[in-house]
């Protein structure tokens, strides 16, 4: 059988090796010149509960975790019960007859794969159960045994030679069995050349790497799913770059410490998720009022309140844009892909530092945890902005105007320790020299100054002041329908539009990455070039829809999914064709 790509899902009890099987399989695939894209859900409980790892593999680069399943590997009955409905008509089930066998009435092809038995037979222990899954599926899609065996060696080496060998034996056994029992699927020839460099990254890893590359040297946080792994990554790696990471007593302290560090001259960030972000509200206001640069990463999860910590949602956009008592805009950026996570973090720091504002980066649970192949970043091409410091001219007469009124709204910012002056940053209304003041004139002057910075930023973005596109826009000829969307729905949308194209329908697509300030010119152009605008979002209310309606003359059609799981391309395609 030959296919463009293949969607494999492994399901079973959390802790049974489902996730590790998926991870090994995906790395083996990448080393065999496949592209891949993963999607996983963790059980919400501490131990146990259903865990699932989905892996889409192709020779081309894939942008989503796919729609229906080609292969469903069930470690147990629960996995089958929950997932069989998502199989393609020609999708197959692999199952371990020791644990369960699909019912007679089940029509799809089902192939027994005795995970424990094969492991036992070939390696003398049942512990290689998940490796058997790796071997059998790998063989089926053409991952060479040697590649997987090498990987197994790397992974298990720290557990000793014996464990490596035993696992390799299980792998071998699985390959042999697969050859006999499971039909191969031909995915075609590699497009990825051997000497291209591809990274395997999750969204959270890319965010952290981006932050470090942007010059972030101070990171604090309070653990929270699904953002903890950013903090943990930084804790491992930042000290090596001369930076510091501290787990704080709560999120208020975490963002406070970042403001302090930024005041002292460091580039600082804190990763969190909804409940933690809620606690940062007052400090985000202080950042704006005191004009202290800071980057806050919000890995969105399903809310409100504690909600569903391990599920996804695009539910924090309204908060990001408007969530502050008093008038205090935030710059909001939403990466659309794992690759974006890296580059948008750099943009976030550049903007924060250059305009002395708080930047909120909105990722989400799926983007955070998915892994995919990403072309290796060329670090030499990265442009870094730093905050402007006062010139000696600015400091003559021995008075330094920290909040100097300028054409751009941005005032030169001295760094404590600099002998040329001193100042007191403040959250009170103040004049250019930091002195608190409450006259009508002063408040309106300073309000205008603070908002001026946002205008300057919008203009700079417009004029290409930033290294790479702050939006994605594609208006194919003849497109009557246009999609506007944000964040991690990018991939599924691109693939849904491919499907539409295959049925002969061209659809335009605008995907702002900087969500505030919005790419005003492009949105106007986009809206006027299509008849209908559709805004699909993974939330109930339609946050982006609301923003677009408030700012532009259009009545978008909303497609909303609020189930805690992401859109599939197929489902989006169906929905778009229906409403479009």
């Amino acid at each position: 059988m030959s296919k463009q790509d293949i969607v494999i899902r492994i399901g079973g009890e959390g802790g049974e090796g489902v996730i590790s099987a998926g991870e090994i399989l995906s790395r083996a695939a990448a080393r065999s010149q496949f592209h891949f894209f993963t999607f996983r859900t963790y059980p919400a409980e501490i131990k146990g509960g259903l865990a699932m790892f989905q892996l889409r593999i192709s020779r081309r680069q894939v942008l989503s975790h796919g729609s229906a399943l080609d292969v469903l590997m069930c470690f147990n009955q629960e996995a089958f019960d929950n997932y069989w409905k998502e199989l393609k008509p020609d999708g197959i089930v692999l199952y371990d007859p020791k644990y369960f066998t699909p019912p007679k009435a089940f029509k799809n092809k089902s192939i027994p794969l005795e995970l424990e038995q094969i492991s036992l037979d070939s390696s003398g222990t049942t512990r290689g159960k998940n490796i058997v899954a790796v071997g059998a599926i790998g063989e089926m899609i053409g991952i060479p045994y040697d590649t997987s065996a090498k990987l197994v060696e790397e992974i298990f080496l720290r557990k000793g030679e014996k464990v490596v060998l035993s696992n390799q034996k299980a792998l071998k056994g699985a390959c042999e069995y697969s050859k006999k029992a499971i039909q191969k699927i031909d995915l075609g020839e590699p497009e990825m050349s051997q000497d291209e460099h591809w990274l395997i990254l999750s969204g959270n890893e890319a965010l952290a790497l981006g932050a470090i590359s942007a010059g972030c040297r101070f990171c604090t946080g309070y653990p929270i799913t699904p953002a903890s792994s950013v903090l943990e990554f930084m804790a491992r790696e930042l000290p090596g770059f001369g930076g510091t990471v501290i787990q704080c007593e709560d999120e208020i302290s975490a963002i406070g410490a970042c403001l302090g560090a930024s005041f002292a001259g460091a580039k600082a960030m804190t990763p969190t998720s909804g409940p933690g972000l809620a606690l940062m509200t007052e400090m985000l206001n202080l950042a704006f009022m005191s004009e202290t640069p800071i980057v806050v990463v919000d890995v969105q999860r399903s809310g409100p309140s504690t909600g569903m910590p391990t599920k996804t949602e695009q539910g924090d956009l309204r908060y990001a844009l408007y969530g502050s008592p008093g008038e205090c805009p935030r710059v909001v950026i939403a990466p659309a892909s794992v690759r974006d996570c890296f580059f948008e973090m750099i943009r976030a720091f550049n903007i924060a530092e250059k305009y002395q504002v708080a930047v909120l980066v909105l990722s989400d649970q799926t983007l955070a945890n998915r892994t995919t192949t990403v072309k290796r970043f060329d670090l030499n091409k990265i442009h870094i902005d730093n905050r402007i410091q006062p010139s000696d001219e600015d400091l003559k007469n021995d008075i330094y105007a920290r909040y100097k009124l300028t054409d751009t709204g941005v005032s030169p910012m001295l760094i404590p320790g600099d002998p040329r002056g001193a100042f007191i940053a403040t959250g009170l209304e103040h004049d250019e020299y930091c002195t608190p003041g409450y006259t009508p004139e002063l408040h309106s002057t300073m309000t205008l100054k603070r908002f001026k910075k946002l205008d300057t930023l919008a203009a700079d973005l417009e004029n290409g002041g930033s290294q790479n596109g702050h939006y994605f826009m594609d208006i194919p000829k003849g497109a009557k329908i246009g999609i506007i969307a944000w964040g991690a729905t990018f991939g599924p949308i691109r693939e849904a539009l491919e499907m539409a194209k295959e049925t002969g329908v061209e659809i335009a697509h605008l995907h702002p990455k900087v969500l505030w300030p919005l790419p005003d010119k492009q949105i106007k152009e986009f809206i006027s070039s299509v008849d209908k605008v559709i805004i699909p979002e993974e939330n109930y209310l339609g946050h982006l829809s609301e923003v677009i309606k408030a700012n532009y003359d259009v009545k978008p059609i909303q497609i909303n999914k609020f189930e805690g799981i992401p859109f599939t391309p197929e489902e989006l395609f169906q929905n778009i064709m229906e409403v479009g």
Binding site: H197, L199, S213, E237, T244, S262
Partner: protein
Amino acid sequence: MAEVEAVQAEETRVDKRKATEYKTDLKPIWCPGCGDFGALTAFYNAFAEVGIDTKDVAIISGIGCSGRFGYFIKSYGFHVVHGRVLPIAMGTKVANPDLHVFGISGDGDALAIGGGHIPHMARRNLKMVYVILDNAIYGLTKGQASPTSPEVMKTGTTPTGGFEKPLDPVLLMLAYGATFVARGYTAKYKAVSDLIVKAMSHNGFAVIHAISPCPVFNKNVTFKSVSQLVEDIPEDHDITDRMKAMELALDKDKIHLGLFYQIEEPSLEDKLGLQDRYAMKIDSTARMNDLLERFQ
């Protein structure tokens, strides 16, 4: 005796700079007779004695009458939001360990809304000086009960008297494991100044609880009432004896003034190796390229 010695110390003390050098042009906005004036004088004097350079000072202050502190001292500063002096001070100091970082809070700022941060700062033992200006009232919001208000006290929110036992900041700091715990009284600003000087040379988190009456809103805790209760810590007190320090703090009859406790423990800077870390010459791009290898 102790007093004589103090006076002598005062006389022989050589101030490296003039106290007035640290004054800004802004006139303090406190009410006449406010205890905070004494604290400010103590700071000017301590800075003069140490001869510290204004550029090396960062004063992080909270919201309250006391929070206005920073505007009156020539230095870098951050006037933050209510209760968040310590997290912001931590960031400032860790990011720039060369600075002398001071935190200034009122009793409400420190112990009510900000109370959750203190134990953790004590655990970290970051080198900084934290001064709590305690008037046992919310001054800036015009007179409500604070965590140190006497239980019986009638205030705007406790019209018939309060119903919560006051906290003792010194006892709390000792329980948290702070490595330098002292109490001053702003009426005795010279002693406060001496404590500040001592605290500045402490390698860790140094807390000074400074009683600083509010003559406008607090009719229970006044200069008069406090003056009758204060007493210097006995000279033979062993400042490394935590239990003994707690006993002094728990004394119901007297308010002891002076250094309760001081021990040597590695500071956060030491534990994180910050000086070394920041001194490293790192080729970030090369290092990042190495790191990326791991993801191939």
